[in-house]
Amino acid sequence: MATAERILTDEMLEEIRAFFPRYPTRQAVTLPALHVVNEHLRYVPQQAVVEIAELLDLVPSQVQDTLSFYGFFKQDTPHGRTRVWVCRSISCHLRDGDDLLDYLCQQAGVQPGETTEDGKLTIEAAECLGACEHGPCMLAGKKLHTCLTREKLDAFLQTLE
């Protein structure tokens, strides 16, 4: 196989190897490794899958099989610099959250799952975020936005970098 340019940096390799002692098998490091790559690159390209497999003594299809099960990891292009998860489950939906996802998509000009052209924002439809007492809500990166309204979404869009 022609060697493509390596994608996993030394830093990523080191972060992934740090997980080895935690598990009795290498395969168990698959999810942690996917998270490491995803945090650095905002996606997990196929070449990274090949390199993770090599590192974990697996064949690439094993890693790819796991990756593809979790819709969480994008493979073709990186997600935006901010990735938001807008809850569409029952408690948020009942508290007038039903149109917030549509509204945000409309304002940003993308569909759920897509990234804006300027690469600032990816919008995802989420199932219950476990913050139902504050619904409707969304998670933007690590920050939880609670009791959302259209006005709050407008303000949020202004903060994007």
Binding site: Q27, S89, S91, L94, A131
Partner: protein, 452 residues
């Protein structure tokens, strides 16, 4: 009822409640010290058994009994998986414990590992809890530094390593064998049981899976004793030899159309009405309630005239629901359309089915397609029979699937249509007046010819 003093939520809302020094200041880790130095694993298991504690993750299985399914005198390793995947819609009590009192959870977890002989524990936490993850990781670091985790805890020969493991946004990772597969680095396809995890679980070794709130209860049972635990809750039903009763405190999540949504603690057996009125400040905007979910969306629906339903392990079942589930109550006011509710529920399960079993994968997708058709004004009365046929056909209870996700998908369908049939029929008649006339409940899958 006398004023109840919260136990699990005792520290919530206090300053720095997530830090070790605050936890230690109220006696934290003293119970652990006492048990490890003065007691035995069997004794801890006996305490938990005697308390009658039942799992808080949804199935209500007796915790002590589950632990005794581990093979005796096993050479090890034995693994403990703490289930912090909490993804059942409307459920958030684990999040509150992890964010605000992670040491309570960890102390309970260490005690549970001591009892079961596990020397490695995995804390499987869903990806969508970044604050919970950071707080638990910080607490774990504090524990290693203080000698509560690691080699030879308190100089005893008990050692324990605790690792956090992050999920990746999939509901099925909460099912215990799905969790184990996910932990092993595979797609989270639930396993056919038996073997049960206690015999062959993570990495093919004996494994215990318990919920966050369950191990928090273990901490207090070890501290205050099983008799204290049994002063709260509901006694076994004398007419049902298989009912072990519902003891102890419970964290009730309340959301939807109430004035004060939140997580509230009360003894098991609180009724839906009491939860809404005493804790939730009543239905919001002065409206009337129409329905409620009793314990996460998988459990089905209660009509407003069923709000005297007690929220213990046996209660919701007597009202035609699947069970207590996570005791997460969602209130819906009189303006809510049950068609809309069912669409939301079907959308969730169609999205989250792992796809392994045909009845679940196809059933959830078809149910969504049918309810969408109804919602769009193209429904026919026989669609209700079709939906019920799916609802009655998928799940562990009819015996057609591997895991309980599909029972959870089925119950909202069955309850919504059977308890609110008039509303569905009326909606179909009004929105599709030409198409409703023919009902063919007998052969539901056979296309009835369209009336001219």
């Amino acid at each position: 009822m006398a004023e109840y003093e919260p136990v699990l939520l005792a520290s919530i809302g206090k300053e720095d409640s997530h830090r070790l020094r605050v936890y230690e200041a109220t006696g934290g880790y003293q119970t652990l010290r006492k048990m490890l130095c003065e007691s035995t694993p069997n004794n801890v298991t006996d305490l938990v058994k005697a308390s009658g504690l039942r799992g808080r993750g949804g199935a209500g299985f007796p915790t002590g009994l589950k632990w005794t399914f581990l093979p005796p005198n096993h050479p090890g390793p034995i693994y403990f998986c703490l289930n912090a995947d909490e993804s059942e819609p409307a459920t958030f009590n684990n999040r509150i414990l992890m964010e605000q009192d992670p040491h309570q959870v960890i102390e309970g977890l260490i005690l549970s590992c001591f009892a079961t002989g596990a020397e490695t524990a995995y804390f499987y936490i869903r990806y969508e809890y970044p604050l919970g993850y950071d707080r638990v990781q910080a607490a774990v670091d504090e524990c290693y530094a203080a000698g509560y985790l690691g080699k030879n805890i308190f100089g005893t020969d008990f050692s324990l390593d605790l690792y956090l493991h992050r999920g990746a946004a999939a509901y099925i990772c909460g099912e215990e064998t799905g969790l184990i597969e996910s932990l092993e680095g595979k797609r989270a396809w639930p396993r056919i049981k038996p073997p049960f995890p206690a015999v062959e679980g993570a990495f093919r070794k004996p494994t215990v899976v318990n919920n966050v709130e369950t191990v928090a209860c273990v901490r207090h049972i070890c501290d205050r004793g099983p008799d204290w635990f049994r002063t709260m809750g509901v006694l076994p039903d004398p007419d049902n030899p298989r009912d072990p009763g519902s003891f102890g405190p419970k964290l009730y999540c309340l959301s939807g159309h109430v004035e004060r949504p939140g997580c509230y603690e009360a003894p098991l057996g609180l009724t839906v009405d009491e939860l809404i009125e005493r804790f939730g400040g009543g239905v919001w905007k002065g409206r009337r309630a129409k329905a409620a979910i009793p314990g996460g969306i998988s459990m089905g629906l209660l009509r407003h005239d069923e709000f005297d339903c007690p929220l213990d392990f046996a209660g919701p079942g007597k009202y035609g629901c699947l069970g207590l589930g996570t005791a997460a109550v969602v209130v819906m006011d009189e303006t809510v359309s049950m068609i809309d509710f069912l669409h939301n529920s079907c959308q969730f399960f169609a999205h989250e089915s792992c796809g392994q079993c045909t009845p679940c994968r196809e059933g959830t997708s078809w149910a969504l397609a049918i309810i969408k058709r109804i919602q769009a004004g193209k429904g026919r009365l026989k669609d209700l029979e079709l939906l019920l046929e799916i609802g009655d056909g998928i799940g562990i209870i009819p015996g057609t699937t591997i895991c309980g996700l599909s029972d959870g998908a089925a119950w909202p369908i069955k309850n919504a249509i059977r308890k609110f049939r008039d509303e569905f029929e009326q909606y179909i008649r009004e929105t599709n007046p030409g198409g409703y006339a023919r009902i063919s409940p007998a052969i539901a899958l056979q296309e009835a010819e369209h009336p001219s």
